[in-house]
Structure formats: C-alpha cells, structure tokens
C-alpha cells in the first residue's frame, strides 16, 4: 500500500466495485466473498424431499430403491419424493430519479442497487435457481423473466448495466407484476429507496407474502439522507418532483426526526407482514450488506 494513501478500502467497497465495468466479475467476487463460510445456502435450491414409499414397479429408477428396507422386509419399495421445486427469484429494482443521488465521494443509490442486484442474481443462478428482473420508476421500464443458467445471468447483468435513473417512483405496478410472474413459490426482492409511501406498495408486498412468496426489501439510502449533515443555507431541489425548498441549519434536527420516523414506519410495516427488511447505505461494503441479510435469513430471524 502506498504511503499516505489512507486506510485500505475493503475489498467489496462499493466505490471500487462500481469502478469495475465487468458486472459479472463484480457479482462473482461479491458473492464469493459474502457466502464463503456459510454452511448452508440460505437459498433453498434443489430440494428432494422424501414423500412416501410405494411398491416397486418395473421401470422405476433403481437409485430410488430403499435397499435397507429390502434387507429388512425382503420387499422392494421405491422412495417417492415431493416434486423438486427450484427457487425463482424476481428482483424489482427502483430506477426512479431519487435513486440517482449519491453522497460526495461515494456511489449513487442506483449504482449500489445495481451491484446488489447483480450479486443476488449471480448467487441465485449460481446455485441452479432462476432469477428475473423488473426495472421500474413511474412505470415498468424493463422486464426480464425469471430463468436459470449462465446465459440468462449475463442477460440480467447486461440489463443491470444499462440502468439509468429517471422519473418518479411508483412501485406497486412493478411489484404486482413481479408477484404474478412468480408462478410458484418464489423470492421477491425489492431494491428501492422506498420513497413511494402510498399504501399500495405495502399492499402489494403483503399480497406477495399471502401468496406464499418470500419477500425481502433492501432499503437503499445514502448517509446524507439519514443524517442530513448540512449546516448551511441551502436551496434543496427535489430530484423527482423538482420542488425547491429553502433550508437552513435549524431544519436539520426536524429532518432527522421525520426521516427516522420514515425508516421506522417501513421497518414496522415489513415486520408486521413478515417481510425481510434490510437497510443498507451506499457507504457499506457490499459483503457487509449481503452477509448480514444472508446470515439472518439462514437463521430465520430477519422477520
């Protein structure tokens, strides 16, 4: 390390990762760095669950014969398993204008969401499951159906690479679409800053959980939005609505209160509906962002 270069950045520093143009590499590095050490994949993949025994019929696959039972009973029985269910994940990523905000020296929320979504897609497909993508702002801008395979993964990564932030936020249509596209029990992942707080978003998330999907919400924010570190006179222009507000140092305290209440509301909503809620900031290393969630998920305590 060069002298005077400052403390070394973590390997999965979002700024460093964002600088790498090969999103597949980034995703692989992220996932490898995140899930190493986990004893079990939290994402349940090929599940061959034992269902029952039945008498052997000619033509049955010999590998399903329970030889121990034959030895005990001198009868030939075949194990039957429940239908194998691959995981299907649908990643809904918010590409509204508010996602284009980034703290000075950091990455934008959209860039962070892109890295996060890429890592998640890589992990899901890497373990043989399917992943899809829905990009939305005020409407669904792009849809990639849930598929498995490396070719499909690259297609997803290309779509993520071409993301651009614009427009206002209307998440509920995208969530409904994603939910409907998950034909079997799946995983709905919402990556957004959740500034769309009308009741429809919560309603769609609740609907997804009622259907049986696993829902996880990655609430992506910047440190500035949480802490409002501005102690000067500012004219703030809203990134989506364009509204302009004069602000001064005295507004900081009230902002922080309001924003903390906003965060608390989303945490409460998710907890009340059995939705996994993970708040990440753009200055968090990606492995830290993912590891926390994945470990908690594998223990089942994220609710």
């Amino acid at each position: 390390m060069e002298r005077g270069a400052g403390p070394p950045k973590p390997l999965l520093d979002p700024v460093l990762l964002n600088a790498i143009s090969d999103l597949e590499l980034v995703a692989r590095v992220t996932v490898d760095g995140t899930v190493s050490g986990l004893h079990r994949s939290p994402f349940h993949g090929y599940s061959a669950e034992f269902s029952q025994y039945r008498h052997y019929r000619p033509g049955d696959d010999l590998k399903y014969i329970d030889w121990k039972l034959l030895a005990r009973t001198d009868r030939i029985y075949t194990k039957q398993y429940r239908e194998t269910t691959n995981l299907a994940a649908q990643i809904a990523i918010d590409a509204s204008a508010s996602m284009n905000y980034g703290a000075t020296g950091g990455v934008t929320k959209l860039a962070y969401a892109r890295l996060l979504a890429a890592a998640l897609a890589h992990r899901v497909i890497g373990q043989g499951d399917a992943a899809g993508l829905v990009v939305f702002s005020d409407a669904i801008r792009q849809y990639v159906p849930s598929r498995s395979g490396q070719v499909h993964l690259r297609r997803l990564l290309v779509a993520l690479t071409e993301l651009e932030a614009s427009g206002t936020t209307a998440a509920s249509p995208a969530l409904r679409r994603s939910t409907d596209l998950l034909k079997r029990r799946g995983l709905l992942i919402l990556v957004s800053d959740l500034y769309d707080e009308d009741g429809t978003v919560e309603e769609e998330l609740r609907r997804a959980t009622r259907i049986g999907h696993d829902v996880v919400v990655f609430h992506v924010l910047t440190r500035d939005e949480i802490e409002f570190p501005f102690d000067e006179d500012l004219q703030l222009d809203d990134l989506e609505s364009g509204a302009s507000v004069q602000s001064g140092p005295a507004a900081a305290a009230e902002y922080r209160r309001e924003f903390a209440a906003f965060l608390a509301r989303w945490r409460t909503r998710c907890a009340a509906n059995g939705i996994d809620y993970v708040r990440v900031t753009t200055d968090m290393a990606l492995d830290a962002a993912l590891r926390e969630y994945l470990v908690q998920r594998s223990r089942g305590v994220t609710r």
Partner: protein, 436 residues
Amino acid sequence: MVWLQPTSLWLAVLVAVPIAIHLLRTRRARRLAFPSVRFVRPSQTASVRLHAPSDLLLLALRVAIVLLAALACAQPLWITPAREASWNARTARAIVVDTSESMRDPSALEPVQRIVARESEAFVTRTFEVATLGSGIERAVAWLQQAPPARREIVVVSDFQLGSMSDAIAGMIPSSVGLRFERVARSNALVVPPVRRLTTADAAAEAYAIGLTDRGTTIEVQRRQSVESPGFRLLGNAGDENMAAAVRRALVAAGTAAPDPSRRIAVRTGTAISDGEVSAVAGRWMIEIIGGLSRDAELDRLARSITEAVPRAEPWTIVVRGQSNQPVVRAAASDAELVLDCATPLESYFTAAVARAALRVAPWSRPVTESDPSTIPDSTLDTLRREPGPADTTSWQTVEHSDGRWFWAALLLLLAVEAWLRNRTAEIKEVHRAAA
C-alpha cells in the same frame, strides 16, 4: 464644507459594491439536488437569517466605510470662524529685492540681507531678486495667489531709483494684498559729483550739481576755487618747485585724470627721495599701476629714445626700459605712496608722460561710472503703501492640509467595529449550528 479634490467624490458610487455583495449573498444559497426534500420543512428562519439585523448592520457599516473613504479622498475642509481667524493671524509675504546696477554696491549688501532676514519671519515667505521691480512684483502676485490662505503682503527692498516704482506697477497688485517699501541706503539730497580731473590750487574749477526732486530737475553750476588734487606729487631736486608746478599745470591743461586720494602717487626725478626711505611695492593698486605703465604703448615708444638710466637698486622695481634696455623708470613704495623714479629731468616730456600714464591707469576705489542719485521720495512711496487685507477665504484651494484625517480616523474606527461585529456574528451562527 468645501472639497479640495471634488472629483474624488465619484468614489462614492463604490457603495454599490457592498450592497451588491449583500444582495447576491442572500440569493446565492447553495443549491443541492436532494431526494428526500419532502422531509425538509421550509426554513423560514433561513431566509430571515440572511437578512438578520446583524447582517443589515454590517451592510450599513460597510456602506459607511466606503462613503467615508470617498469623502476622505475628496479632502474636505471646514471653513469655520476659528479657521478664518487663524488665517488672518498669519501673513504670506513676498519679498522683492532690487538687484539693479545701483543696488550692486557692496555697501548695500549687508542692509539688504538684514531686511530680508527680518521680513522672512512670517507664516510663509518667498524672496524674488529682480533687476526690475515690475517683473518682481508680477511674480510675487502670482506666487501669493498660490500661497495658503493668509493675509498677503509684498515688501519691496530697493533704493527706489526714479522710475523703478510707479502707480502702474502698484496697480498690478490686488487691493487685498498689502504693499510696503524698505529703502536701502541713498537719500535724495543734492549730490555734487566728485572731481575727476587733476586740479591745481591756482586754477578755478566748475562743478555741476544736479538735483532731481518731485518738483523737477535742478542743475546748479558751482564755480569755486580749485583745490589741488590730493594724492599726486611731482618731486624734483631742490629748486625745481616752479618747474614742478609748471609741469602740473601742463598736466591739468591736458585733462589728466585726478588720482584717488587714498592711492597716492609721486613722480620724482633726481634725488628727492633716498633709497632708505622706500620699500618694495605692495598693494594691488601699486602693482596694477606698474603693470599699466609697463604695457603703456606710448610710454614704451617714448622710452626707446631715452638714453638716461636710473640706478638698479633694491627695493626698486624696474618699470620701463630705455633705448639700450636700461631702466628709465623704477618704482617703490614710501609711506603707502607709490614713488615713480624717472631717469629724465622734471621738465622732460617723458617725465610728464610717465605722470600722466600713471594717473590714467590708477584704479579708483569707487566705480568711475557714477550711479544715478535720483530716487523716489518717501512721500511718493507713502501714497502707494497699504496694509494687507483679510485672508481670502475663497482661496481655500491652496490650503496645505485638509480635514480628511478626521474622516480617515472615523473610517478606521468603523473598520474595527465591522471586524468585531463580523466575528461576533460568526460566533453566534456557529453556536446555532452546534445547537441544531
């Protein structure tokens, strides 16, 4: 109040600078595109804070500082009664010194210096040495017009020869400027010019006495008995007195110049003065006479035919040589008298020529050219004399110092207050930020 540099008042337009900065500063809050603006309550105090009383006070201070600087640069001047009184208490004096021919007499130098030294003790003075009083007074008037406010006066130092001062010249002087005369030497009494020609006691002499008064010119011819010009002797052997007188009368008839009585000359032949009674020539005038004789062309021509000789002996100095280069005229000093010893007898033409040549070259201690004795009488000068008037307050443009220093002092004070207030305001803002 008046302004010595009124064009500097234009600097007052610079008050627009702090005003513009104040206005621009209120509108140039940093703009920031932010995603969560809806959580920000519009800060009324933000806009109000930018127009906080302390900021307005700072603006007023800065405007006042710029104004004071502009006013100070314009060099203000308060013409108060006290200031006018101080101006009237002092005098600006121009001294015009006559340096014409009549004033170049060394005897006039010391009186002039004494008068100039005395008159120079004023608020401000300047001396003008001129050959004509008119040009000097003209320059003096011009200088007084540029002098700082004070009572103004012209003092003329001269012998006031007739025509040097007149009503026309005095008319060049403004009525508020005083005029005074200081006379040097001279009086206008009747003067008899000294006799310039050799005289004898037995001849009548005429003298013209010229007097110039304000009533006119008087010329009086005075005939009186002549007196023998002192300072010249013709000496021969015993018994040559008649011959000496005859030679003297011949010299008088020839219009020979009279000697300066302070520089006596004796022409002798024979043994009238012994060697023991003389000493070497001394004094510049003796040497000048000897030099003049040795260069006299007529004397040299006459000497070539002289065969006589005078003995060579100390301390005599040989002046003229004869036919065979022998000394025919020698000189020495005797009791402050120049003695010229001739080889030729008293009745010789050469001896008379030597006497005449010596008298011709003898330098007068006084200039030969007589200075004009006519002067302006005091009564005439009194009609021109006047006292200086009060100081001209409209001439404040020539004031040497303005009252701008008070404005600069006030400006410095306001700068200190502005700096203190600015620091105080910053501290208060910092406390507010920390509390927020």
